[in-house]
């Protein structure tokens, strides 16, 4: 999509990382490398270049396969953590 191309054109190789969050619902994450911390209030999703923490209530992983992650529950905050720490790895 052109919108994503515009957003990720200066993202330095992070074009495969995408997050879609439905307000009051869950979210869909593409290009997921690993799941870090995992609880019903917080799920840490690791991407190749960055780490994103989804915070909310009643969170659970609906589907996790081949770099795709679907989260159920109410996501209130999507926080990008240590964006520079993954660089160069």
């Amino acid at each position: 999509m052109r919108l994503y191309d515009e957003i990720f054109k200066n993202a330095d190789g992070a074009a495969f990382t995408r997050c879609t969050v439905v307000p009051g619902g869950g979210g869909y994450f593409e290009g997921v490398k690993a799941v870090g911390d995992f609880s019903s209030e917080r799920i840490v999703v690791c991407f190749p270049k960055t780490t994103v923490a989804a915070e909310g209530k009643n969170l659970s992983i609906r589907k996790y396969y081949d770099g795709d992650l679907q989260i159920d529950g109410n996501i209130h905050v999507l926080r990008v953590e240590n964006p520079s720490s993954e660089e160069g790895k």
Binding site: F38, S60, I61, D66
Partner: protein, 305 residues
């Protein structure tokens, strides 16, 4: 074509940082569904049933491979969704088959007779079985509707049967037979035979053909009246005899006794007279230590009279 539904299995993975275990499953290409952290070191999740073997190849099952060490252990928690019912059905296959068989029986073999029960009395069970078999009703055969009256008619012909009904209750046939509480007089359909030896002194035949006449001497067992009428054309019409015959008999015997009365009493007991019979003449003569007793008496023999 891909089948839209794939059965899923629920597993519990346990170990330090169980999220890392999910990473290994991802690398193995195993899709993980409905993952939920139930404890700090436990994650409950579902996988496709076909991937179960792969998971247990990566992480040992705590139930079967206790000796194998791994940082994470996996426990099978059972099938999910439709697969749960399939597994339950497999575990209760006999019950399921029985239920299906019962359903099939109720749907397609409703008129099948499994047993014949009797209500009231079963003294005529043999006759009832025969009557039912004649119309094709027997255990493990199909019920013949509309033949009940035929069976009842046959059973009601039996002496003493006052009420009879045949009906089907599910897979059982209920035969109700009620007999009369009072004994019914049976009709003798055979020829009248003499029960005593003597001379006929009176004879009344209302139905039947007499073979002897008054004045004839008869022996015990001889036929007195035949159970038929002779027609003018020379044929015979079978009837039930109604007849009464009076026979004069004589009894003579030497009886050991102390007195004449005792000898007569013994002789009286020997001839076994009934209420209608009467003694015509008696004679008791002492003969040494014995007595010679002579009794002339008449007996009445009847058939259906």
């Amino acid at each position: 074509m891909k089948f839209p539904y794939s059965p899923k299995e629920r597993l519990l993975i346990e170990g330090l940082m169980p999220e890392r275990a999910l990473l290994r499953l991802r690398r193995a290409g195993i899709p993980v569904f409905y993952a939920k952290k139930v404890e700090k070191n436990q994650i409950l999740f579902c996988i496709n049933k076909k991937d179960c073997e792969k998971v247990f190849a990566i992480y040992p099952d705590v139930c079967y491979n206790k000796s194998v060490y791994s940082a994470y252990t996996v426990k099978r928690m059972g099938a999910v969704g439709l697969g749960k019912y399939v597994e339950k059905a497999k575990a209760r296959l006999g019950l399921l088959l029985g239920g299906v068989l019962c359903l099939v029986m109720a749907t397609y073999f409703d008129p099948l007779v499994l047993a014949i029960d009797f209500v009231g009395t079963d003294v005529y069970a043999r006759e009832a079985y025969t009557a039912l078999e004649e119309v094709g009703i027997r255990p493990f055969s199909f019920y013949q509707a509309g033949k009940e009256d035929l069976v009842c008619a046959k059973l009601l012909r039996i002496d003493g049967v006052e009420f009879c009904s045949v009906q089907r209750k599910g897979h059982r046939v209920l035969v109700e037979i009620q007999t009369s509480p009072f004994p019914t007089q049976s009709i003798d359909k055979n020829a009248m035979k003499a029960k005593h030896t003597g001379e006929i002194i009176a004879m009344t035949v209302l139905r039947g053909t007499p073979t002897k006449k008054v004045g004839d001497t008869v022996r015990e067992g001889e036929i007195l009246v035949q159970p038929y009428f002779e027609t003018e054309q020379g044929g015979q019409v079978r009837v039930e005899i109604i007849s009464r015959v009076r026979i004069m008999c004589a009894y003579e015997a030497e009886i050991e006794a102390e007195t004449a009365e005792e000898a007569f009493a013994k002789a009286y007991l020997n001839i076994c007279l009934s209420e209608k019979d009467e003694i015509l003449k008696t004679e008791t003569i002492q003969n040494g230590a014995c007595y010679r007793v002579k009794i002339e008496y008449s007996v009445i023999e009847t058939v259906n009279f």
